[in-house]
């Protein structure tokens, strides 16, 4: 009977077939569940967000858009427009802000780069608005884009999380919990983001649209999802620590 914990350079964490097959089935099951509930989920999110946004004194109405086999209900709202003086001010402020942040090193470098990145997007958008007169996305098309992005991510998410989960020897219940938690979390995150963005844009106008979507939008989802994954990995690590007792005279 081998009772020596192998050195880490030899160690493996092979997931047995009794884990892999259920994990695949769980992934497919959650995926099917998401597909089947995508329509009611989407309507629920739209309705709840509409209520929140309305309660925040932003007039909205529910539209209708076809996306894949789903009938989306994007929130239709209005945004204030910008005149050229405003846009020029945004460009100037953005440039100055980048310069100030860079020269005075107001934040640690990673944060500094992120702050500058956002100023750059805003200034870039202002420049585009100044030159083109309008953005490619209006409020309603942006709203539709948000909903489409959100829905597309929900539809793919179980497969993605399942593909990563299958690598690790999670217990079956843990795999199921991880995938479901990721999906539910992303739904809640997307819903709260959607409402927040509508509220912000209804006050700020289109100038913040690109920055919100590209910097704070769905592209950031991977960060909290990794956080959830990390929590579950931590639980797995705790379980794996209970190894057989080593030979005592080593």
């Amino acid at each position: 009977m081998r009772s020596i914990r192998p050195h880490r350079c030899y160690r493996r964490l092979a997931a047995p077939l009794s884990h892999v097959v259920p994990c695949i089935l769980i992934t497919l099951a959650v995926e099917i569940l998401v597909i089947l509930t995508a329509q009611p989920l989407e309507h629920l999110v739209s309705s709840v967000d509409a209520s929140i946004v309305t309660a925040a004194h932003v007039p909205v109405s529910l539209g209708s858009e076809q996306f894949l086999w789903l009938n989306l209900a994007p929130l239709e709202f209005t945004m204030p427009s910008h005149d050229y003086i405003e846009l020029a001010a945004y460009i100037l402020v953005g440039a100055v802000a980048i310069a100030v942040v860079s020269i005075f090193r107001l934040f640690p470098p990673p944060l500094r780069f992120f702050v500058n990145f956002n100023f750059l997007i805003v200034a870039g958008e202002a420049s585009y608005l100044l030159l083109a007169g309008h953005l490619g996305y209006a409020s309603n098309t942006f709203s539709t884009l948000m909903l489409q992005t959100m829905t597309a991510i929900w539809l793919v998410l179980p497969l993605f999380v399942g593909t990563v989960t299958i690598l690790f020897p999670f217990a079956i219940l843990m795999s199921l919990t991880l995938i479901l938690t990721s999906v539910v979390f992303d739904i809640v995150l997307a819903a709260s983001r959607y409402a927040a963005f509508i509220i912000i844009l209804s006050h700020s106008g289109p100038i913040m649209m690109a920055d919100l979507y590209l910097s704070f939008g769905p592209l950031l989802d991977v960060i909290p999802l990794t956080g959830i994954f990390a929590v579950f990995l931590g639980l797995l690590a705790r379980r794996l620590r209970h190894e057989p007792e080593a030979w005592e005279w080593l």
């Binding site: 020596i4 709260s192 927040a196 956080g227 080593l250």
Partner: protein
């Protein structure tokens, strides 16, 4: 107000999964570097040397009879000059004999040590066995962990040697002995014959006239070294390496597949067969007085008279024919 709350809610939801990490950053509980044993040095006889060091105080104490063992509350040791276990007896005490330990046939025990010798009859089962002199295992003995003898280790037919069998001198294996690692100045098989693996049909054949004297030979695929070839270099096959009778390789032989060394052939350096290792009758690895290694991550088969000067490592278990 609700607008602000809504934005705050989004930020809070986003940040929620990051909070456990924040706790770890604020109060680090797992930030020490990975431990590296800087003082570690590979020793094929590590287990037994460690065990000898631990029992040295007991051995030199002059005590007799049953005594506590290494401060363990669940284990005791029996100390004496000559210790004998009756056939088919069972003891859970660690046996420490200042001269000789004799285990009758069929006896079962945990750890045993004999300063001058350890003699085991047939079918003895032990956790570990150690001797500063000679150690003899009868047929069918089973050692769960390791066995070591300072001067010589003689293993009967059909024994099972656990994770490690070693000696500062000669190790002789009977037929049908199962092992993982065996180390000795000379490890020899006194066993039978096993059929060798078949050579691969499309292997590249090498004969002495094909091989220039150094540099080393590297074959991209399977290779056969023909009978009687003498190679004053190392050889590697990215597939399997089949060495026919009477070949002498003065360097190392490495195969990504199986390494087969037929009768009377010699590899004076290391033999490394990733998938498997077969040492034919009277084949040899290494040179007397120099320790080399016959290694496989697969299974090793040793035929009668096969000799290794040094270490045999067979990760998935080997046996003597």
């Amino acid at each position: 107000m609700l607008a602000i709350l809504s934005v705050a809610a989004f930020i809070a939801v986003f940040a929620l999964p990051l909070v456990p990490g924040l706790f770890e950053l604020a109060r680090p509980r797992d930030n020490s570097g990975l431990p590296i044993q800087l003082g570690y040095s590979r020793d094929p006889r590590f287990f037994s040397q460690s065990f000898r060091a631990k029992i040295a105080p007991l051995r030199e104490s002059g005590s007799f009879g049953r005594v506590p063992f290494l401060d363990r509350h669940d284990e005791r040791a029996s100390l004496g000059t000559l210790l004998t276990l009756a056939p088919k007896s069972h003891t859970s005490h660690v046996q420490i004999a200042r001269e000789q330990l004799i285990c009758g046939a069929g006896a079962t025990m945990t750890d045993g040590y004999g300063a001058k010798s350890v003699l085991c009859g047939d079918a003895v089962e032990a956790r570990t066995l150690c001797s500063d002199g000679t150690l003899v295992l009868g047929n069918g003995c089973s050692v769960e962990r390791w066995v070591d003898a300072e001067s010589s280790l003689d293993v009967g037919n059909g024994c099972s040697l656990g994770m490690s069998a070693s000696s500062g001198g000669v190790v002789t294996l009977g037929s049908g002995v199962r092992f993982e690692r065996v180390f000795g100045e000379r490890v020899t098989v006194r066993g039978g014959v096993a059929p060798s693996p078949q050579r691969v049909k499309d292997a590249i054949t090498l004969r002495e006239s094909d091989i220039t004297k150094s540099p080393n030979v590297i074959v991209r695929g399977d290779a056969v070294v023909l009978e009687g070839t003498v190679l004053d270099a190392s050889i590697k096959a990215q597939g399997s390496l089949f060495i026919e009778r009477g070949v002498r390789i003065m360097g190392n032989a490495v195969a990504r597949g199986t390494l087969v060394l037929l009768d009377e052939s010699i590899i004076e350096g290391h033999a490394f067969g990733e998938r498997g290792l077969f040492l034919g009758t009277n084949s040899r690895i290494g040179v007397p007085g120099q320790g080399k290694t016959a290694y496989t991550a697969g299974r090793a088969v040793l035929c009668d008279g096969a000799t290794v000067h040094g270490w045999i490592v067979s990760e998935q278990g080997g046996w003597s024919a």
